[in-house]
């Protein structure tokens, strides 16, 4: 009966991949939350020489300015994941609201929103983001807003197509016949039924946002120094690869591991929401 035992049952029925994914995500979140406690040194603190090798003092050595690599990795989790999460959330608020509205209103409202979204989607996302960030500057706010708006176009398409299927169902017609307003129909009739596929999409979208922030940081237009960020950490230490040092791969691995884990969980949730059994 209670949600707690339901959650437990749900978790027990999860396949190993999803359990693995959930554990990794939980670990990342914990690291991000308790970064100042876990990290041995400060985020931008210069604690040694440049590019020091792995040692007892500096588990993963130091970077090109002499900052502790492990500490930066830990703080990087906080920045990269936090910003990606915020951005995805924003993208979903915009995209879902517009998508459900377009599907419910139909006709010209749908046409208008859909065509604007088509235009946004027609331009390659990364190039569009680079362009907009060049215009608006590389502040954190601009970064979050630009990526959120660009990604909300993708979310819109999912939300709209999911809602299109629901709008035609009889219970929505019944609500219309009752005289319900737009807000009730969208919020109480359609949204609860559109939620499962949207939640799954959220996980997927989070990965994309995460990757595009990392990509932008790598290109120098994302999260700005001295904030630690995995994308820019790859770039800053890229030269080490030439010397056979795998240190620059650590932030890359952190990105890859989180992306894979999120996808494991999303796959499982998609499976659940589609009502398939094994």
């Amino acid at each position: 009966m209670t949600t707690k035992s339901e959650t437990m049952r749900l978790l027990r029925s999860a396949p190993p991949t999803a359990v693995f994914g959930l554990l990794v995500i939980a670990l990342y979140v914990a690291v991000a939350m308790f970064a100042p406690i876990i990290a041995p040194y400060g985020e931008a603190e210069i604690v040694g020489g440049r590019h020091e090798v792995w040692s007892d003092e500096h588990a993963f050595g130091t970077d090109q300015l002499g900052r502790d690599m492990l500490s930066r990795l830990i703080y990087g989790a906080r920045n990269t994941i936090g910003i990606a999460f915020l951005t995805t959330l924003l993208a979903f608020l915009i995209g879902t609201a517009l998508g459900l509205l377009a599907a419910t209103l139909g006709r010209w409202a749908d046409q208008l929103i859909s065509r604007v979204v088509d235009v946004v989607i027609a331009i390659p996302a990364l190039i569009f983001a680079l362009l907009l960030l060049t215009i608006f500057g590389t502040s954190l706010t601009a970064l979050v807003l630009v990526i959120a708006v660009l990604d909300s176009a993708r979310v819109f398409r999912v939300a709209r197509s999911v809602a299109m299927g629901i709008v035609t169902l009889d219970f929505v017609e019944a609500a219309r016949l009752r005289g319900e307003g737009l807000v009730w129909i969208v919020k109480d009739e359609i949204l609860p039924n559109a939620a499962p596929p949207l939640v799954a999409e959220f996980g997927l979208r989070f990965c994309f946002v995460f990757l595009s922030i990392s990509a932008l940081s790598f290109l120098g237009l994302g999260i700005q120094p001295p904030l630690a960020d995995w994308g820019s950490m790859v770039r800053e230490n890229a030269t080490l690869i030439t010397f056979g040092d795998i240190t620059p791969l650590l932030p890359a691995t952190a990105i890859a591991l989180l992306t894979v884990s999120v996808n494991f969980v999303v796959d499982w949730m998609l499976h659940k929401s589609s009502g398939l059994k094994e």
Binding site: D170, F171, A174, L177, R178, E180, E189, P192
Partner: protein, 549 residues
């Protein structure tokens, strides 16, 4: 009748289905023997296991089910344990299956004749050219129009009844020894159904094919089957020759199935009088440029039930859409209590909306699956009547009690935790919550088993008597009309063909279309199909053609 040896022998067959983590029995030990050329009818309510048994006769179980005991022997060959390749080769040549929805069973990307030819050619029984010639012959036997040309159409280019016959033809392409028919006519109109029934019966008799005919309709099974098996909860209730079963059923359950059709609402003797509650005047409505309703005028009175009948596409559901304001009429007027009703739903006042409520055919989609009954039934109460808190709770409980569901058990359930009949009751409660004066019932019983449907009809009649509700009852089922209607409106091609009191419309003389519609409704008499076909054959020879439109 002389019969061949035993073709199919099912012994103590048990099948289980998986629910969450446990296995629940679906069939609990069925014994069955089918001789060559014999047609066996399987009948029962939904969930009785009749489709499962039909599939099991091919050695097949649905996903999530398994054989847990017993044997299925086809010509001495045990199927439940046979390798899948054995079953597959049997299924494509000796056993065929005709599903309820022909539209879903054909591949929409290929022509009918190519799908007909696929198996015979694959099995090396015919060349492509032979198969095509054979298809034309089989189409002709099934009385499809233009047998030489129709095969070159795609599935969406023929009508539903034709497609169902093409499907039967395809099942015959390898001259199977056994065909399983799973509700092949359930999705069809009565006027189409009769043609398909006749065609199936003829072709099965001609080739001496044995058949298992799965249906929930007693009248149909009595036309098609030599013997009938009644199933309930995965167990056999009764098995007998069709005639014997119809005249002298031995089990109570069988008798109750038979008795359902005899439900009659108390007759309201006098004709409708006084001003109508709601009325349509010269209404013409269209989707795009196509008129779907032409100059319709219908009056609905308080306390009376008007049944609107006709086949699909006749415009009967469109009448409901015009009444509710979902489809504004192009011409004409809808009035309520003598005052004109705004044409579009958005322009109607809360009170106008409240008085016209609707109950849907598919309770599955009519109730929001993410809302508990408390919210589903409570919302109209809060929305129209402004109830909240204790008063709201009490009223919800009253309504649940009124539809005969225990409030304590059901108030916090989701629709998915209800049976089909219970869902439909909740749909009724939601309509009642608005305290309406008129309710549109759109095929409310057609998705339900007969016993459950009867319960719903009784409930509706009681509510009408208590509250003086006016009903518009959209249906294609004449048995329902006879049970519940006071007045009948017959529709065809968006026009009213005939209208009046039930006794007048349902008794002769009829309009030709009404005659066709009425005579197509299957009766419980095993000779009904033969008789109707003979009559129509005779009528065709004479100049008066019933329903030649």
């Amino acid at each position: 009748m002389e019969r061949g040896d035993i073709l199919l022998r099912i012994r103590d067959l048990k099948i289980e289905g998986r629910v969450e983590d446990s296995w629940l029995p679906i069939l609990k030990g069925i014994n069955l023997e089918l001789r060559r050329g014999e047609v066996l009818g399987l009948i029962g309510e939904s969930g009785a296991g009749k489709s499962t048994l039909g599939l099991a006769a091919m050695g097949f179980v649905r996903d999530g089910c398994r054989f847990s005991g017993g044997t299925v022997e086809f010509e001495g060959q045990e199927l439940t344990t046979a390798h899948r390749s054995v079953r597959r080769s049997l299924r494509s040549s000796d056993i065929a299956y005709v599903a309820q929805s022909a539209a879903a069973s054909f591949n929409p990307a290929h022509k009918l004749v190519d799908q007909y030819a696929e198996f015979p050619v694959l099995r090396g029984r015919m060349t492509q050219a032979e198969a095509r010639a054979d298809a034309a012959k089989m189409y002709a036997r099934l009385q499809l129009p233009d047998p030489n040309g129709i095969g070159f159409r795609y599935p969406h280019q023929v009508s539903g009844g034709q497609l169902q016959r093409a499907m039967t033809a395809m099942a015959m392409s390898c001259r199977p020894k056994l065909i399983i028919f799973d509700e092949p006519t359930t999705a069809l109109d009565v006027t189409t159904q009769i043609e398909v029934l006749a065609a199936i019966r003829e072709v099965v008799a001609e080739f001496g094919t044995a058949a298992i005919y799965v249906t929930h309709d007693l009248a149909i099974v009595s036309q098609m089957a030599d013997r009938v098996m009644v199933l309930r909860y995965g167990e056999m209730v009764e098995l007998a020759e069709t005639r014997q079963m119809l005249t002298t059923p031995t089990e109570d359950y069988t008798r109750s199935l038979w008795a359902v059709r005899s439900f009659r609402a108390p007759v309201k003797a006098e004709a409708a009088k006084g001003a109508p509650l709601i009325s349509l005047r010269d209404v013409t409505a269209s989707y795009g440029k196509v008129d779907v309703l032409s100059d319709i005028s219908i009056d609905f009175h308080a306390g009376r039930t008007v049944a609107v009948v006709g086949e699909s596409g006749s415009g009967k559901s469109t009448v409901a859409r015009v009444l509710t304001g979902l489809l504004p009429p192009r011409r004409g007027e809808v009035s309520f209590d003598g005052a004109a009703l705004p044409k579009v739903v958005d322009q109607r006042s809360k009170d106008q909306l409240r008085h016209v409520q609707m109950i849907y055919q598919m309770a599955d989609t009519a109730l929001n699956p993410k809302q508990r009954l408390r919210k589903i039934i409570g919302r109209p109460l809060a929305f129209y009547l402004g109830l909240s808190g204790r008063a709201l709770e009490d009223r919800i409980r009253d309504l649940l009690a009124e539809i005969e569901l225990d409030p304590d058990t059901f108030i916090d359930r989701f629709p998915s935790e209800l049976s089909g009949g219970q869902k439909q009751r909740v749909g009724i409660a939601r309509a009642l919550a608005a305290d309406p004066r008129f309710i549109i019932c759109d095929e409310v019983t057609s998705a339900l088993d007969q016993l459950v449907a009867e319960g719903i009809l009784r409930l509706l009649v009681n509510l009408q008597n208590e509250r003086g509700l006016g009903y518009m009852f959209i249906t294609h089922d004449i048995a329902t009309v006879e049970a519940i209607a006071d007045d009948v409106v017959v529709m065809q091609h968006g026009r009213v063909v005939e209208a009046g009191r039930k006794e007048d419309v349902l008794s002769p003389p009829h309009e030709p279309y009404t005659e066709l519609l009425l005579s197509s409704v299957p009766e419980m008499d095993p000779d009904w199909l033969t008789r109707v076909l003979d009559q129509r054959q005779g009528a065709r020879a004479s100049p008066i053609l019933p329903g030649s439109t």
